[in-house]
């Protein structure tokens, strides 16, 4: 992954609009958050292979990181704190936000084909 280049990401978001796509959306502060800090709360959510069609999407700079919103016919997909991106060899738009130690805090990925469903031990 590399630092977000807003225009490239925006172009890819536009390219993937108005068609069936698969989304991976995730945020987490880790399963050990309250183990190492009793005052912390464990929070996290992920949805993998949600099939959506978005009318349009936008990446917005917040100075330091980015927010990405995709407008669905009946709703929204949204991620905040995105810092890095990659368009991988499958043409998928992978975006993630990492903390100072390089740990993933948020991810938003958009693909024309489903993301791998489970650990494929025979791969």
């Amino acid at each position: 992954m590399k630092a977000i280049e807003q225009s490239i990401v925006q172009e890819k978001i536009n390219e993937l609009a108005n068609q069936d796509v698969y989304v991976h959306l995730e945020t987490t502060n880790g399963a050990y958050a309250s183990h190492f800090d009793e005052k912390a709360y464990n929070v996290g959510a992920f949805i993998r292979n949600a099939q959506v069609t978005y009318q349009h999407g936008k990446i917005v700079s917040t100075g330091g990181s980015y927010r990405v919103g995709l407008k669905l016919n009946l709703g929204w997909v949204y991620a905040e704190g995105v810092t890095d991106f990659e368009i991988d060899d499958k043409g998928r738009l992978l975006m993630a936000g990492h903390d100072r130690e390089g740990r993933l805090m948020v991810a938003l990925e958009i693909s024309e084909t489903p993301f791998s469903h489970e650990a494929d031990v025979h791969e």
Binding site: M1, H24, E26, T28, G30, A31, Y32, H35, F36, E38, F46, D84, E86, D88, R92, L94, A96, H98, E101, G102, R103, L104, M105, A107, E109, F115, S116, E118, A119, D120, V121
Partner: protein, 218 residues
């Protein structure tokens, strides 16, 4: 010795290195075979290497390679159970237990090492360990392996008391470090968890002893 076989069952590549690799090395030094049944590929881990080299979609491939390397360094066999990281607690426990029992009946271990259900912090740890207990609980007493459990929650000793086995693994410290470092995407995160933690010396001391509770089937 020849009829002994240790099977280690944890959900994530690196659980074996962090929690039991000193003990594993001790068994290997005694010529006892060790097999690691690894539940998932840790594909939802937060550590992506330092500097970051993995992404959410490539992490599983890295972690599979890292596990292979760690297993080589520890001289153990690995079998992947094929579950998905962070979802084990949502799988039907009976199905996981049946699958584990099938694996264990093929491997015929004399000892199984797993987490202590309810005292293992990560939901995958607790869920897989609970399925291990269910699986072994169904086995006939005559073939039932001994079960040792690794408890890691902060106040587990208040509930469980002192562990039944406390191994000083200082003699195997090099193997343990090598195994931990084989998990490249995780190693920095794991070491900084230790270094950054308030009780640095206590955490390091903890790593140099491995402690297990023996489970009693009633």
């Amino acid at each position: 010795m020849s009829n002994q076989h240790v099977v280690v069952i944890f959900p994530h590549p690196d659980d074996e290195s962090f929690g039991a690799s000193g003990t594993i090395s001790k068994f290997r030094a005694e010529g006892i075979p060790v097999t690691y049944l690894c539940g998932t590929l840790g594909e939802m881990g937060r550590n992506m290497g330092s500097p970051v080299f993995a992404n959410r979609e490539t992490l599983s491939s890295f972690r599979r390679q890292e596990l292979t390397e760690a297993a080589k360094r520890l001289d153990i066999d690995v079998e992947l159970l094929g579950y998905r990281d962070k979802t084990l607690e949502f799988e039907p426990k009976d199905e996981v237990a049946d699958y584990l029992r099938e694996k264990l009946e093929a491997l015929r271990p004399s000892l199984v090492i797993t987490h202590y259900p309810g005292y293992a912090v990560h939901p995958d740890h607790d869920a897989l360990a609970a399925a291990v207990v269910a699986a072994i609980g169904q086995m006939k007493e005559s073939v039932r392996p001994e079960v040792w459990m690794h408890a890691i929650s902060n106040y587990h000793e208040e509930d469980l008391g002192e562990p039944d086995y406390i191994f000083d693994i200082e003699p195997y410290w090099e193997q343990k470090l090598a195994a931990i470092q084989a998990h490249l995407s995780q190693a920095d995160g794991m070491m900084s968890l230790i270094d950054n933690h308030d009780q640095k010396s206590e955490q390091t001391a903890r790593l140099k002893t491995e402690r297990f509770y023996k489970w009693t089937f009633t």
